[in-house]
Amino acid sequence: MLTQNEILLLKQAFDEKDRIYFSSLPSRDELLDISFSPKFERRMQRLLLRAQKVYYPMINTLAKRVACFILSVVALLSITTMSVEALREPFFQFVVKTYETFADLFFPTNDETAPFIPCSPGYIPPGYKQISHDQGITYVRITYRNSEGKEITYSQMHNTGGTTSTIDIQEAYFEKLMLTNDTEAIYMEKKGTRLIYFKNENNIFKIMGQLPKEELVAMANSLIK
């Protein structure tokens, strides 16, 4: 490494070297005939104007200019959306609607290792006949239909590790019901369709159809051991 004294000497030597070098360069008068293209002059004028801005370091490269442009557009759009009522209202309505329309039902699990035992309702309302039966490792889905074409859908799901079901609650009536053996259930009505959700042992049951509430509750009670 260089000592302070060496650095000082070197600095003076460089100054001397510059004096020698400058004497070899053409004088200002000799450089008068150098001309520049109009395109270059315009480009330099733009550069000098930009350099005079306080925010020049933020726009001195193309990437920074592009980033600034994108940020400006995003900011402008946000400001426009928030300041114009015709845009702001639908935006908030969308947010509110999204959060008001749906609800999540969470069913905790009691015993994750319990095996899945498929079952079907012991009571079926008169006139309904089974038209389909779909069964997997962790679910059962049965559809019943009467002569009028009305259907009842019964579902059983194995509840392992907790299950969340999202339901559309917009313009819906719902209440909490007590089934036999103090089993809690969620009952919901919407546009003539009735639905009941409940958990028994390690299963989640859902029964849905266009049938009276009493019939729906009777079907649910027939599943509880």
Partner: protein, 179 residues
Amino acid sequence: MLAFYLSILDTAEEKSLITHIYTEYKPLMMHIARSILKDEHLAEDAVHDTMLKIIEWARSHHETDPQRIKSLVCLVTKRTALNNRKYEWRRRTVNIDDLTDQPAMWDNYEHSTYSDLLSILALLPYNYQEILQLSVQHELSTKEIAKVLGLSHSNASKRLQRAKQAFGEKWRAQNADTE
């Protein structure tokens, strides 16, 4: 409020310095760039690139010595033109006869007060002379040097270290001989 006025003042100084450098040294920058690149348009590009670097420098340094400013302008222009020439070599075939050596910078130093130092500097590769000058004479940080030379920070740091080492070894060897 004071900081605001100071920032305006700084910017005003920078503005006048940048404009002054451009108007004062524009023909000189063009002369140096043209002597290296042998092409009007490429030389103009080099002058533009040089000014970008000078603007960066003027924002962090408040040099008032005209000789130092001229020295830096010449150094940066030369390096920018050399870098651009290297890029042009990669981009297209250039007639070897069109290319000249780097402009002579070491004439008549024998009669100088610092002839010993200058003769040692002349023995170093141009890359080393240039980085030493930027660091020692113009007091640029390694980061600023890296920007001016178009190198990564680590490469600039390594080159500077080697340049100092090479100069130190030669200088001490010469002093030992004379003693």
